[in-house]
């Protein structure tokens, strides 16, 4: 079963780079089986359809915007918990939409999907580097990735 661990983010926008940082850390430290790929990308919207096609299982690491953020807080979401009614712009093609679109067009889309959503402190100001709260969340995120993989292996 081909699995993709996908770190989404933009390192130029502070905490929005968390997905990228996590993938780099995973590449450095972890020893995954050959059927598990690690990809980091700043692509947005529909371009992601090319990235996730042909994988059966997908773990996404990304930041999440909350009205009153608790930075570094990690939540595991299913597709059903993420917006699937489209937003006001194609800049915001959500994952459920990408997957639905991919399926409709006859592409092979992941069937098992988990989203690790990390609450960010600051994502609108240009600047490199994570906030301390989000940086500290990295080991916790890595553990969640491994937990999810173990859980899937069992099934």
């Amino acid at each position: 079963m081909k699995t993709l661990i996908l770190g989404l983010g933009n390192e130029l926008f502070g905490d929005d780079g968390i997905g990228i940082h996590v993938i780099r850390e995973l590449k450095r430290k972890s020893d995954f089986k050959s059927n598990i790929d690690l990809i980091e990308t700043s692509y947005s919207g529909l371009a992601l359809i090319d990235v996730i096609a042909d994988y059966e299982r997908l773990i996404i690491i990304d930041t999440i915007k909350k009205e009153k953020p608790n930075p570094g807080n990690i939540r595991i979401l299913d597709l059903s918990q993420v917006r699937h009614v489209p937003g006001p712009s194609p800049h915001y093609v959500s994952f459920p939409q990408i997957i639905a679109l991919g399926k409709k067009l006859g592409l092979k889309m992941p069937t098992l999907v988990k989203i690790i959503a990390v609450e960010a402190k600051n994502i609108y100001i240009l600047g490199e580097g994570l906030s301390p709260e989000v940086k500290c969340a990295i080991p916790g995120i890595i553990k969640k990735v491994k937990d999810i993989l173990t859980d899937w292996e069992r099934k």
Binding site: L8, S42, S44, T63, K66, V85, Y124
Partner: protein, 490 residues
């Protein structure tokens, strides 16, 4: 006289997709409306201290959707910084890459934006009013074609600009990779398919939208209509050009108001600050800021597809020119002030982009190996301008004599439209909310007002929407929240 001053705390800045605040007067009619658009903050602090030559590599990451636009504007700023002219072949390659990008972005965005409003219909339920609904309506084949064209365009750009996430082909004075004859022929086939596809998209627009009186009425109706100034890049014949040329501004009657080199933009564009937003609203210095209003006396101007067509004397390629003439005939002349016509103009521009790709590839000079002039001058200041899909994009750098940035400014496309977007929302709200009566369909109708501009809503960041859908807050004359509309999460 009842003076109700309403201040919106600027600290409650936008953290989600969009927050629209609408304030009603005592009669329950719309007094003011504001859309808070998240803007790019900290660009100067971020750039200062960096070598200018890094900017074409870094700035594409400002936008996950249109990195090529930033890359190209940044590269041109470096040409200007070092006062080095790119070789003729380099210019052609850059314009070819850029046209490929515009074709991809425009066709994709039409199907995502205009498609749901027109192809599916403005009154269709929210769950259908998206790309999936479009595919359901027009057929799977079209969906597949859109995805295929998009992929082919992206492959071309990856090939010429490096197999990395973001383009890295631009250098001051040229490009880093040339084109072989074999690839020229291959890309030419793709470009011709692009022309066919763009024509096909216009035909869909014609069949589904223009032949439907209800849709045409919405396009030409007064809810989505503003008489503003228009700005865009034009070539020496005053035809639309995405990659290079002079900036031209026409007034609401279509008369040329100004035409200048990009380097002179500060003589023409000033910025206005509102207390409720972090955004500075650009406006025409020589007309002045008169508020969120349109007409000759107001310095508000618009950019992006319809604006570019309005600011020009036509399209430089034949099929696009034909489509341009048809649009203006239908809309009753030039300039066209109908906001929803941005979607139509977007398709005409896509056709021009594809035709231009063919033209550039049919010019044998594009495979010439001379792709770079090495800079020799001491750097000081450089300004690079391109027409991004969403409008005029300006990169401006000042450096010390070693090329390290000392000052930097960036005007992203959507910022040029910020004032107009607010005005459009205000107008739509005014027409749709009467005597405090807020009908159900209003959320979508208000969204249509700003979706036509395809604004860069925090285009930079990736974040999942979380629990921040589009919110429209409606306040009565006492500033009390009386109604809240939310685009649903689930």
């Amino acid at each position: 006289m009842n003076n109700k001053r309403i201040t919106i705390d600027p600290i409650t800045r936008l953290e989600g997709h969009g927050k629209i605040e609408i304030f009603l007067d005592e009669q329950g009619n719309v007094d003011k409306a504001f859309l808070q658009i998240p803007e790019l903050r900290g660009f100067e602090q971020f750039a200062v201290g960096r070598p200018a030559e890094e900017m074409p590599r870094i700035t594409p990451r400002i936008c996950g959707v249109c990195p090529t636009a930033h890359h190209m504007a940044s590269t041109k700023a470096l040409d200007d910084l070092y006062k080095v002219e790119p070789t003729p072949t380099a210019k052609k390659l850059r314009e070819f890459i850029y046209s490929t990008f515009m074709l991809e972005d425009h066709t994709l965005h039409f199907f995502f934006l205009g498609g749901p409003d027109f192809v599916v219909g403005p009154h269709a339920p929210a769950a259908e009013r998206n790309i999936l609904g479009v595919i359901n309506k027009v057929g799977l084949e079209i969906g597949k074609k859109v995805i295929q064209i998009r992929k082919q365009c992206r492959d071309i750009i990856s090939y010429l600009c490096g197999k990395v996430i973001h383009p890295v082909c631009g250098l001051p004075g040229g490009v880093s990779k040339g084109l072989t004859e074999e690839d020229r022929k291959k890309f030419l086939e793709i470009a011709k398919t692009g022309v066919e596809f763009a024509q096909f998209a216009l035909k869909i627009f014609d069949d589904i939208v223009l032949k439907n009186k209800e849709y045409v009425d919405i396009i030409i109706g007064d809810i989505y209509f503003h008489r503003t100034y228009y700005m865009g890049l034009v070539d020496k014949n005053n035809k639309v050009n995405f990659y290079d040329g002079n900036i031209r501004i026409v007034d609401p009657n279509g008369k040329e108001f100004a035409k200048f080199k990009p380097q002179e933009y500060l003589n023409h564009i000033a910025e206005h600050v509102e207390p409720w937003s972090y955004i500075k609203f650009p406006y025409l210095r020589k007309v002045g800021w008169k508020g969120f209003t349109d007409g000759e006396e107001s310095g508000i101007y618009r950019v992006a597809p319809l604006a570019r067509l309005n600011a020009s004397d036509g399209m430089a390629t034949p099929l696009a020119q034909e489509a341009y003439e048809k649009m203006y005939d239908t809309l009753g002349g030039k300039p066209a002030h109908n906001t929803l016509a941005f979607h139509w103009a977007r398709l005409i521009e896509a056709l021009y982009a594809a035709e231009r790709m063919v033209e550039l590839l049919e010019d044998k000079e594009i495979i010439d190996p001379n792709i770079r002039n090495i800079p020799t001058e001491i750097p000081k200041e450089g300004i690079g301008v391109v027409e991004a899909p969403r409008g005029t994009l300006i990169h401006h750098y000042k450096t010390d004599e070693k090329g390290i940035i000392t000052e930097a400014n960036l005007i992203v496309a959507t910022l040029n439209n910020a004032a107009a977007i607010n005005m459009s929302i205000g107008r739509a709200a005014e027409k749709l909310i009467k005597k405090g009566d807020v009908s159900d369909g209003i959320l979508n109708m208000i969204e249509m007002a700003f979706r036509a501009y395809d604004p860069c809503h925090a285009c930079a960041t990736h974040s999942l929407p979380g629990d921040m859908p589009l919110i429209v807050n409606i306040y009565n004359a006492n500033g009390k929240l009386i109604h809240q509309l939310k685009r649903n999460m689930k």
